[in-house]
């Protein structure tokens, strides 16, 4: 019973957050000065009639609440507007971009989690040793380097050996076998994913280390030691499992940061994902695309957070009490 309550509560929270994000998205573009009409009617000799016609066409003559309801209704039908830049539906463009973003971000994040866990556990295990100092200081340093700078550094170092931009080699014919295309994409993915790994793993190392240290001080670890279990087993079976709980929370909280970093990374490596689409939208003042990109990224983060909540609950059912 209790677990059903918990799932419902978190699910409700996620839905309300999505609603809040949608509302922010609507009002942000209306409280700030300027509108689509003042932008579009900036042609020479724009007559008041043209302005009026545009205002009516966009429905901007209606009261705000009515515009808001229309916006909600259209959104639930999957309509995110038409891109100013290339006159195509925003939702189609962004879903295509999302398909490119997901693999790169997933590979980078998973790699960061693995590297962060390994270095963090080693640090805690060999506390005070040279290895601990190297891994802790390295983590702080990489945490401090700006994401875009790390990307540029990788570009400087590996330009020439690895593909520096884009997602596919445009000269690879589509008749080539599937695995060759896959290998090509993987090669293009190395640098962006490595940047994401470097920029994200530092905070994981630090958190895993401190959480491991905390767990190693617990009574049950002392008991396990006293039973005569070997170190390796104590760390792996007894300390590690409990030390991983904060990691789930951290990964969930970090998602926003990762998504922000992904935008910067996609810009540097011209990776054709949502981040690059938002960057292009900024350059071209393409508000519908910007709005759509924000909404999709936010909703993705909210649902991944919800998933992390459920996962945490699976791992530690005590939290519902």
């Amino acid at each position: 019973m209790r677990s059903a309550d918990y799932v419902l509560k978190r699910g409700f929270f996620a839905l309300v957050t999505v609603f809040v994000a949608i509302t922010i998205n609507f009002f942000l573009f209306r409280v700030l000065p300027g509108s689509a009409v003042s932008d579009l009617s900036r042609v020479p000799k724009a007559s008041p009639q043209l302005k009026h016609a545009l205002t009516v066409e966009f429905g901007l003559d209606k009261p705000k609440w009515q515009q808001y309801l229309i916006y909600l209704r259209e959104l639930f039908h999957g309509n995110m507007g038409i891109s100013f830049a290339n006159q195509q539906p925003v939702s189609h463009l962004l879903i295509a971009d999302l398909k490119n973003t997901i693999p790169m971000v997933t590979v980078g994040t998973v790699a960061a989690i693995v590297v962060g866990m390994v270095t963090g556990i080693l640090s805690a295990w060999r506390r005070g040793s040279a290895a601990d100092h190297v891994s802790t200081n390295g983590a702080i340093l990489f945490y401090a380097f700006p994401t875009q700078w790390l990307g540029l550094m990788l570009l400087i170092i590996f330009a020439g050996t690895l593909p520096a931009g884009g997602m596919e080699n445009p000269f690879l014919f589509s008749a080539e076998p599937f695995w060759q295309h896959l290998g090509d994409i993987a090669q293009h993915m190395v640098l962006p994913a490595a940047t994401l790994l470097l920029t994200a793993y530092g905070s994981y190392t630090l958190v895993v280390r401190s959480s491991m240290l905390e767990t190693l001080g617990e009574d049950y670890v002392l008991t396990a030691r006293a039973k005569g279990l070997p170190d390796r087993r104590v760390v792996r079976r007894h300390a590690f499992r409990n030390a991983m709980l904060p990691m789930v929370t951290l990964v969930a909280l970090d998602l926003g940061y990762i998504v922000g970093g992904a935008v910067l990374i996609e810009v540097i490596f011209s990776w054709p994902g949502i981040g690059l689409a938002m960057y292009d939208a900024i350059q071209q003042r393409d508000y519908p695309m910007l709005q759509g990109g924000f909404l999709i990224l936010t909703v993705a983060v909210i649902f991944l957070n919800f998933a992390a909540d459920l996962f945490y609950f699976r791992l530690d059912p005590r939290i519902s009490q």
């Binding site: 957050t17 809040v20 922010i24 700006p146 550094m153 190693l216 001080g217 926003g256 910067l264 909210i302």
Partner: protein, 319 residues
């Protein structure tokens, strides 16, 4: 009648916690090398950015050497695409980056500290409403929201400060709230209230001084985040294009083919100084936070060496 020292909570406060804030920071600086290193780094860059216009070797608006001239004895860090000295840009750009970092953090701390205090002190409906808002903002990816706001609002220094400030307060609010909730229940606060002190007096005279060090630790950590975010926004072209900051230096290097020209001197140094400031803030903020959190000290136990480290700041019978 009970003597104050018989109260275990009061006794712990009397022996464990330093009486004044200045005393606390002196202790932290004496006991933790990381805090000294961090504070020196921050101090160095603050002083540098104050005196930058007087000591920087060249103007940052006029061409003084060839386009992408490599480092030489006249221009230690070479020149950028406009033939402008990189070292001078680095010095004066730091000024803007630090101003944005400090000002945005001030905004964030006023909001976050205020929300945390009100929420923790008054509890109930105030707490529920404020924490709901905090939770929503905590989940929404902040850089993405910043990009949208900064773009719609227009690129300017002031806008960047406000945009970072109004979105970076959430974790501070949560931390301060938790601390206020525990301070509020302490005996001396209850006694003060019994003596007839009002809410304002209790908050400003008794609660704020207790959460002060934590707020300062958070301020320093937030400065690091704010500087990082400034470079990110500038990189996407959302900062004032007429002002030179560390963020815009990186943006220009990327936009204006520094990489294909092989001009590493336009990229490498600026990343190193940004990282130095962030590491400085991190070391100092983390050291203060660790000193405030006795729980972390219990864990100073290593499997390999297998011995207990002495406990600091806790009662004699801890662990």
């Amino acid at each position: 009648m009970t003597l104050p020292l018989q109260d275990p909570q009061l006794a712990a406060e009397a022996e464990g916690q330093p009486s004044t804030r200045a005393g606390f920071f002196r202790t932290v600086l004496r006991e933790r090398k990381a805090a000294v290193v961090g504070l020196s780094i921050i101090g160095f860059f603050v002083v540098l950015s104050i005196i930058a216009p007087y000591i920087s070797p060249y103007s940052i608006t006029e061409q003084t050497c060839a386009v992408y001239a490599p480092p030489s004895s006249a221009h230690w860090l070479g020149c950028d695409d406009g033939g402008i000295d990189m070292l001078s840009q680095l010095m004066q750009g730091g000024r803007i980056s630090l101003v944005v970092g400090f000002a945005a953090t001030l905004v964030a701390m006023i909001i976050g500290g205020g929300v945390g205090l009100l929420s923790g002190y008054f509890g109930r409906a105030t707490d529920v409403v404020l924490m709901r808002i905090t939770d929503y903002l905590l989940v929404i990816p902040d850089l993405v929201l910043m990009i949208v706001i900064a773009d719609v609002w227009g690129a300017s220094l002031f806008h960047v400060i406000i945009v970072i400030g109004i979105l970076e307060w959430t974790s501070t609010a949560r931390i301060i709230r938790a601390q206020v909730m525990s301070v509020r229940e302490r005996v001396y606060v209850k006694r003060t209230r019994a003596l007839g002190a009002g809410n304002t007096r209790i908050i400003f005279k008794h609660i704020l001084p207790q959460v002060g060090p934590l707020l300062i630790a958070n301020t320093v950590l937030t400065i690091a985040i704010a500087i990082y975010l400034e470079t990110a926004l500038a990189f996407l072209g959302l900062a004032d294009p007429t002002v030179t900051s560390w963020g815009t230096i990186l943006e220009h290097a990327f936009e204006r083919t520094a990489i294909s020209s092989g001009a590493w001197w336009a990229i490498v140094p600026v990343g190193l100084v940004i990282a130095a400031v962030i590491v400085g803030c991190f070391l100092f903020g983390q050291a203060v936070e660790d000193a405030l959190n006795p729980r972390l000290k219990v864990a100073n136990l290593s499997v390999r060496r297998w011995r207990l480290r002495p406990l600091v700041g806790r009662g004699p019978d801890a662990l």
